[in-house]
């Protein structure tokens, strides 16, 4: 099996041609993360040694259904959460709107919001990455 690092340029070109926002490849050597913001692709390589040291890996919260992504309640003028916010399990971090129905994107566990992937008002597909959460106490196991 070839090393994915040998093909990063090609992967970036593929990704740039799609609507996919995040491509994450995990291997024994570490994690390769390609982030595509619509304009350009950013490459991040996390060495296995570092990845192992990072006691609580970021959990990517994904869209449970396709819908319109809202980072706030329709009656609010500020996003529900911002990067750096500590949130409790179950807190709605964002919303998916399907017609008149408003579904929560809840925090699966206690943690800190470290990243947001989707634009307010964007249509997202099933499984689209929405929010990165650094869970608390995942190293306690």
């Amino acid at each position: 099996m070839t090393n994915p690092l040998d093909h990063v340029d090609q992967l970036c070109a593929f990704l740039a041609a799609t609507d996919i926002g995040l491509l994450e490849l995990k291997g024994p050597a570490g994690v390769l993360r390609l982030r595509h913001d619509g304009a350009r692709v950013e490459v991040e390589m996390i060495e296995a040694a570092t990845a192992a040291l990072s006691s609580s890996p970021t959990q990517i919260i994904r869209a449970p259904v396709p819908g319109l992504y809202l980072d706030r309640h329709p009656l609010r003028s500020q996003p529900s959460v911002a990067v750096g916010d500590e949130v409790a399990a179950g807190t709605p971090l964002a919303f998916l709107q399907i017609g008149p129905l408003l579904l929560p994107v809840p925090a699966p566990e206690d943690g800190m919001v470290v990243e947001t992937f989707a634009e307010h008002g964007a249509t997202v597909g099933y499984g689209a990455p929405l929010i990165g959460l650094q869970p608390h106490g995942s190293d306690a196991e």
Partner: protein, 328 residues
């Protein structure tokens, strides 16, 4: 049971209204924003007409004596359950003893003023002439025919146990916007005496903003704007009127009859706000300005159909979601 800790003022029990008794001289009453009430009931899987609390003044606080599923719709009043903020237009469960506090609404995203506290099962006051709405003029319906007071205890109908929590519904007010020059607009059908007003009155009616004065309530909205003049003085006998009718008394400043309108009146009528837009007036804050938009009979029927479509689509999606548990 819910116990009123702080009633504010003029909070009442309302459903969609006491229709069909105008021939007995009984006005309709009912929610000033029937769309917010119906949507809240759909969210809780109640009948659309289940009774809720209409709250126009704040702060307002209630205690739930039993575990209760509820939703706060209408204006965004930063609801709190005990100390924790909870979302508006969202199905929540309160535990026995928890206190819900509602604050003065924010108009940052939606210029709205009235809040509805909807309860799974509905407020279980006796139905009078087919409605649980408070009829303030006749002092019947609702809770003893009067606004709520501190210490009131309101019975809740046994909920069918269908309500689910942890999801919401989008305010229909955001999905069905109608504005002219940045002001809330309502569509108006010319009424019987429209042609008896001067051309400049017609011009002013459609092109000027109208301020909702502080002399406005559930009975009627007194507006301030240019003077509306009949071509010659008119004296009419009292005749039947309905909510939405825009009367022009001698002073030339119009009055829109609202949900607690008396069933008859004798002032000349220049127009009628269409039924489908009365909720927009119901939410318009005192002091705000509105615009009138000329509308045809067909457009009025289309507007009612659009509202019904929104509600039936909401009902369909809520039922689909609750039955299939599509998420989580």
């Amino acid at each position: 049971m819910i116990e009123v800790l702080s009633a504010g003022a003029l909070a009442t029990v309302q459903d969609l209204g006491r229709t069909g008794a105008l021939n007995l001289g009984v006005g309709t009453s009912g929610a000033m924003d029937p769309l917010a009430l119906a949507a809240g009931n759909i969210l809780l899987r109640n009948e659309e007409n289940a009774a809720a609390l209409e709250i126009p003044l704040f702060p307002f606080r209630v205690r739930f004596t039993h575990s209760t599923v509820f939703a706060v719709t209408g204006a965004d009043c930063a609801p709190r359950l005990d100390e924790a903020p909870v979302l508006p237009w969202w199905a929540h469960r309160a535990d026995a003893g928890q206190v819900l506090s509602l604050a003065v609404p924010s108009t940052a995203t939606w210029r709205a003023s009235r809040v509805y506290l909807c309860i799974a099962g509905g407020i279980d006051v006796p139905s009078v002439l087919g409605s649980r709405s408070t009829q303030l003029r006749g002092a019947f319906g609702g809770l003893e025919g009067r606004p709520l007071r501190d210490g009131d205890r309101l019975p809740i109908a046994e909920p069918p146990g269908r309500a689910k929590t942890g999801f919401g519904i989008t305010p229909p007010g955001l999905a069905l916007p109608l504005e002219v020059d940045g002001l809330t607009a309502v569509r108006v059908l010319p009424a019987a005496e429209y042609d008896s007003f001067t051309p400049s009155s017609h011009e002013a009616l459609w092109s000027e903003p109208w301020k909702i004065t502080s002399q406005s309530d559930r009975y009627g909205y007194r507006l301030a704007g240019p003077e509306l003049r009949p071509q010659r003085p008119m004296e009419l006998r009292s005749h039947g009127i309905v909510p939405g009718v825009i009367q022009v008394p001698h002073g030339g400043q119009p009055i829109i009859q609202m949900r607690d309108a008396q069933p008859s009146g004798g002032y000349p009528k220049i127009g009628t706000v269409i039924d489908a837009d009365l909720w927009r007036l119901g939410q318009a804050p005192i002091g705000s300005r509105i615009r009138f938009v000329l509308c045809s009979w067909d457009e009025a029927l289309d507007a009612s159909a659009a509202t019904r479509r929104w509600l039936s689509n909401a009902r369909r999606l809520v039922e689909l979601y609750c039955n299939q548990g599509a998420v989580r």
